[in-house]
Amino acid sequence: MECLQSLPTSLGIPHVTLYSKNQRIQRLANPNNPFRKTTPIHSPLFSNYIFPITPSNLNPSRFSSSSTTVKFAVPENQSSVGVSETDEWAMQDFYTFRKDVEMTMERVTEIRRSSGLEKLQEDLTALENKAADSTLWDNQAKAQETLLALTEVKDKIKMLTDFKSQVEDADMIVKLTEEMDSVDTELVEEAKNTIRNLNKALDSFELTQLLSGPYDKEGAVISITAGAGGTDAQDWADMLLRMYIRWGEKQRYKTRVTEKSMGEEAGIKSATLELEGSYAYGYLSGEKGTHRIVRQSPFNSKGLRQTSFSGVEIMPLLPEDSASVEIPEEDLEISFSRAGGKGGQNVNKIESAVRMVHIPTGVAVRCTEERSQLQNKAKALSRLKAKLLIIALEQRASEIKEIRGDAVKAEWGQQIRNYVFHPYKLVKDVRTGLETSDIASVMDGELEPFIKAYLKFKYSNSR
């Protein structure tokens, strides 16, 4: 599973902290709980308490709804454990572990079922037959493709088999312990480790299932444009830019602001951010749309409450020559920034912006970041292609020609999230309903809960 390995480490498991029902109850009871809705989250607030790395913290029930008894191992517990309580503590620990094994068992069964193991076996047989065919190498490219597919299927089957054998091993230890009626700490510790790692692997596996779009593995280009609301909106666009930069840095993506057009008083009119790294597009694709802010604007002299908007567009970062679409020259309207006045020798301006419009759909891109016109033109074309490919994908059109231009604008402008700073604090995603009052963390790039919630939402809608 090559794609699994290439997941950025920071998006791997450490961030995926999941909660069981009981935990949720405890969290809900906590007045400081910023997330009112039940969703896996990772917030710095929580890092204060979840910890001893015992299986109890690894919730296996991402998709199943059954509950487990899970305890928060608060520091007092550890310090107050006396010698006489050790056995009891060990037994409790074992029960927790047993529950985790049961949960993991269910989880593995569910994953194996939903992955279509039988179908995979069939595919494997078919591919093996193909690979054994003596005419295989007649077509080099086809042969490569077949062998690659074969490896992928093999790896996936192996992974699913490993999941099963690992959880069975742990289960064996549970049964053994029950029969012997005493806890072999060493053995249990080892099994706990197995379960912990297994759950990590299951998390990654599920995540890649969510990210299986054709461009999900690519890097991403985020372009932010200030919408209605004047200086307040321009400041809001700048805040969003900062938010995505921080998110990108946390994911250890190579993050680069390639274009930034400053607002007159404050903030930005527009900006383009490139994120290089695996799956950036997959994670961010759901951020596309209009982001709305409500606050007491610092730019409003009367200090009145103001609502502003900013648009976010996400495109995959495709290598310049990789987009395999050809756009006929006559479908493109290309305009260049003009030096003004008489041009030529009379003027020296570094501005070399290129604006490109795909006439049939009205989809437009502008590229200003490169230092020569020719380079801006090449980049604009590549971005335009990426944009059209994504729109085609969303409209389920098989060709650029089939894109319905009228639908493009509406889709791109859809409001997806509200950020209320005043009179109360709340970030709420319009589509998934996920909300949090910890607006500071969100603006600091804590977008994981929203991103994951949307991916799951999209996944369950598409099934």
Binding site: E249, M262, G343, G344, Q345, N346, N348, I350, Q373
Partner: protein
């Protein structure tokens, strides 16, 4: 810059016959003697009319060794300072002479850093040290020059990104303009259709940084060659440097001299001839954007009373230089000059041109005159 101090009449007399005036080199060296020991920096800050030594090629920032260093927070500090300067300018430049406005200058800050900082820091660990290609003090100095003296950004960094090329430039050499790139496209079109042109000998007259010569050298076939001329010794050596950087020494030859003079041996043999000669009327030079009027070489801008002196000179020469079927393309100041030139070509008693056309640049200004030799 170097020759901008020359009175116009001297340059006008650089005619095909006045061989004795072909050596501005000696004259310059005597002149520049006194400024020599001031070193690069002082040369840059001097008023453009003082010539610098032609042998003194400046290495653009992006090609210098990264032997300096600074902390990220130092750089941030510089950036904020530079931005403050920009904001203090606001739209002043734009209003006075159609100069750069805030966003353009802001982008220049970014690009200057791109050329100076070896690896831009992504995760902001404030005390992280990065390598620089110039000293921090110099960065302050350079940006001050940019804003206070309106020194062109391209002279500050020492290069211009033009088409897919990065061309080194310095005071005394015209900064290639994006409009001029169209000539390369036109050449590309004709050589694609005609093998004789593709494999033939081309000339770029008044090459400046060597932009057209290098770009055309790259689109010609294996046999194709370009000879580029420039009167300015600085331009000639900068062009030479650029040719070497693109490893085109075998394809592009730089010859120092006035217009067609260095091409005596190629008379009647040229497959193509291109030029972006000075075409701004003398009386308009003063009103130009400060970056251009105060810093770029007058030699490369001033086209005489109506701006047509050099264009007409080249037109007359082109007929004798081109072989039958040869192609030419000239850049002009716009519609008026283009029409005048076409008229001149068609009505000339010895006219040998055909298929003469006027073509517009990307801004819609009728900028180019092209045609073929009969």
């Amino acid at each position: 810059m170097i020759l901008s101090g020359f009175p116009r009449f001297i340059r006008c007399r650089v005619s095909p016959l006045s061989q004795n005036l072909k050596q501005p080199n000696n004259y310059l060296q005597t002149l520049s003697h006194s400024t020599h020991h001031h070193g690069i920096v002082s040369c840059l800050s001097t008023i453009p009319s003082k010539p610098i030594s032609s042998s003194q090629l400046q290495i653009p920032l992006f090609l210098r060794e990264p032997i300096y260093s600074a902390t990220v927070s130092d750089l941030e500090k510089w950036k904020n300072w530079a931005k403050t300067l920009v904001y203090s300018v606001g739209s002043k430049f734009l209003e006075t002479d159609n100069g750069p406005e805030v966003n353009t200058l802001y982008r220049e800050i970014q690009w200057l850093l791109e050329d100076v900082v070896v690896e831009e820091q992504r995760v902001s660990t404030e005390e992280k040290v990065v390598k620089l290609r110039t000293e921090m003090d110099q960065l302050y100095f350079l940006w001050k020059q940019r804003i206070e003296k309106r020194r062109p950004f391209q002279y500050i960094v020492g290069c211009e990104h033009w088409r897919d090329l990065i061309l080194c430039v310095q005071e005394g050499v015209l900064i290639p303009r994006p409009e001029t790139a169209k000539i390369v496209e036109l050449v590309q079109e004709v050589v694609a259709k005609d093998k004789g042109l593709r494999e033939g000998l081309w000339a770029d007259l008044g090459t400046g940084s060597g932009a057209l010569a290098i770009a055309i050298g790259k689109v010609l076939g294996t046999q194709g060659k370009v000879i580029a001329t420039d009167l300015s010794p600085i331009a000639a050596s900068v062009a030479e440097f650029n040719v070497k950087r693109y490893d085109l020494q075998d394809k592009v030859e730089i010859r120092q001299g006035s217009w067609l003079e260095p091409l005596e041996d190629a008379k009647g043999k040229l497959a193509g001839l291109v030029s972006n000669p000075p075409y701004i009327p003398s009386d308009q030079i003063l009103g130009l954007q400060a970056e251009v009027g105060k810093h770029e070489p007058r030699l490369a801008l001033d086209g005489g009373e109506n701006g047509m002196d050099d264009l007409l000179h080249l037109c007359e020469g082109a007929a004798s230089m081109l072989k039958p079927g040869g192609f030419y393309a000239f850049e002009t100041n716009g519609e008026k000059q283009s029409k005048f030139l076409v008229n001149f070509m068609m009505n000339h008693p010895k006219s040998m041109f055909q298929d003469v056309r006027i073509l517009a640049d990307f801004a819609g200004i009728e900028r180019f005159v092209t045609g073929f030799c009969q």
